[in-house]
């Protein structure tokens, strides 16, 4: 691997580097265009649809958005929307999905990797099948469970219930793939590390915590990112199961762009919502990417 592209002589590196950067630029141009349009529009007094549009920098869109005033030109009296609440809702769903996915997939991936039990390989195959089912197709069944369980929930608690339900339902869609990813990471941790801990006086749980988990951190980070984004971006499940007034950013933006509202919506405000919607994704990625790329090696020879 020492002779890789990036490690050639200075000449090769120079010209190859330019070619690679150009290729990447061209490939990502459409994405860069759409995102820069979105972000610029959120800070502009008009829709920045091309590089030649003249616009003035303003924070007005952000003010209007955060105050929940969505149709400033309509001139009708309406109650402003509680944007902060939407942000908190989104965070609750995304964070909840992350926690549930991690708790379920770390433990079951460890079991799939390390323990022998009835139908182990059959269940692994079943997981792939489960992952292949689209979440939308399952929604009728999931709704049936929702309604059935809802009849046992006191009315006062039904908002909590629907949040918990959304989190668990959305998490279950992510769990099969998460187990597969993590099992791969667990499989690469040699048995000897766990044995060493047990010989040194630890229990199997100590071994998992002190010897194994630190080594599968990159896998846990990957799974956490995917789970968080799945929760953060989810539209259908939130739309179906949360009460109409409990919006997340995704359903809020959808409601602004949905049929019949698009004409009256002031798009720069929605652009501000969209930009805010992107931020956690970026933060989460920056925070975890070091972990994702981190490889633990050494101290073990095969």
């Amino acid at each position: 691997m020492g002779e890789g592209i990036g490690e050639g002589g200075p000449l090769v590196r120079g010209s190859m580097g330019i070619v690679i950067i150009l290729a990447l630029l061209i490939a990502s141009l459409p994405i860069i265009m759409t995102y820069s349009t979105l972000i610029l529009t959120s800070f502009a007094n008009t829709i920045v649809s091309s590089p030649w549009v003249k616009f003035r920098f303003t924070l007005e869109n952000w003010r209007l958005f955060l105050e929940g005033k969505l149709a400033p030109t309509a001139g009708v009296v309406y109650t402003p929307e509680d944007i902060l609440r939407f942000i908190v809702n989104t965070a609750i769903v995304a964070g909840g999905v992350t926690l549930v996915v991690l708790a379920a997939s770390v433990t079951s991936a460890y079991a799939f990797s390390r323990m022998n039990f009835f139908m182990r390989s059959g269940m692994m195959k079943l997981l792939i099948l489960l992952h292949a089912f689209p979440g939308v197709a399952l929604i009728v069944g999931v709704y049936a469970i929702y309604v059935f369980l809802n009849s046992y929930i006191p009315r006062d608690y039904s908002v909590y219930y629907s949040f918990i339900f959304v989190i668990i339902a959305r998490a279950s869609l992510e769990i099969p793939m998460a187990i597969w990813i993590l099992k791969g990471f667990f499989d690469r941790v040699p048995w000897e590390l766990e044995w060493a801990t047990i010989v040194d006086g630890g229990s199997r749980l100590t071994a998992l915590r002190t010897a194994v988990l630190p080594l599968v951190k990159p896998g846990i980070a990957a799974v956490a990112i995917f789970a968080f984004l799945a929760g953060w971006e989810d539209l259908i499940y939130v739309l179906v199961f949360l009460p109409p007034h409990e919006k997340t950013l995704a359903t809020y933006i959808e409601s602004q762009l949905g049929s019949g509202t698009l004409e009256t919506t002031y798009l720069p405000v929605v652009a501000a919502a969209g930009t805010l919607y992107l931020i956690p994704t970026i933060i989460f990625f920056v925070v975890t990417q070091r972990l994702l790329l981190e490889t633990m090696s050494g101290g073990l020879k095969g």
Partner: protein, 374 residues
Amino acid sequence: MVEVRLEGVTKRFGRVTAVNNVNLTFGDGEFTALLGPSGSGKSTILYLVAGIYKPSKGRIYFGDRDVTDLMPNERNIGLVFQNYALYPHMTVYDNIAFPLKLRKTPPEVIRDKVLEVAKFLHIHELLDRYPAQLSGGQQQRVALARALVKEPEVLLLDEPLSNLDALLRIKIRSELKRIQKELGVTAIYVTHDQSEALAMADKVVVINRGVIQQEAPPDTIYNEPRNVFVASFIGSPPANIFPATMDYTEEPCINLPGGTRHCVEDEYAGVLWRMKPSKVIVGFRPEHAEIVENPVDGRPVIVGEVYTVEPLGRENIVTVASEDIHLKVITPPEVRPEAGELVYVAVEKGKLMLFDPQTEVNLRYIAREWSQGG
């Protein structure tokens, strides 16, 4: 320290029997090598002693204490793994301190003990590093330090040198033996490398297919292999082994390949007379034979044609083809016959080994068992 005893221990994995009814004693303070090819069950025995595996049958004792049902952490053992199994995310210090931390030892005591063992193994300057920053030999010492820091009664080593380069291996080999003797700890050492086993161990246990083939000091293993397997496994190159027919006109005589005959006079004669086998398996070590131009003095001689000569500097390995049998002979560097040349291979007196063709057991051992049995 303590003596380790296995009584009728069997370990099955599914339908595979890895260890079959093994009775074995590892002497108190002794350095015992478990030697065998891969898949022979030697590591399984080690992990049975460690408590990582549970025997399917039989009991394991540390002294008078029955440890069969005890967990590894209740046995007071130190274990060094083949891949070292250091915790990659901990510094050398934390790696060594880990077993003590799990025992809830006070921090000051941990510090003292870690420093002591690190100095003993000359790794006290590496304590802040991570395993990935160490060389193979250093990692090996850290693994040993982690095993020794809890002052174990039994030290178990699973091929600890197999990942080191050849020079380092020979250096650490002698060091390991010195450390073991200094601490007086009962040591069990698993290896597939016979030179390691012969060089380091007080006692060598040769294992094949889960069954003990021979259990003896290195000298005996080398000079008096109990059966064909031990003879063909030990030595580099291993012993020459071939079948031969017998005739018993006046004395028991072996018909050697190439048409010569050798009549047995030594301690084998008695057994041969009593058993009168029509065939035997003959063996001798390449270093116990020489290439001669004329067959002389009653030494067993085999006639053959030189097949190849491998010069190794200090010595040559000459392969001689006789009938369809290839024999290896170690010769001094100046003896370099041409390929195709007709030569005589003369075996040193008393170095010819004879094995029972059915059981493959050395006839000398059969003779001894008879004389002991009455």
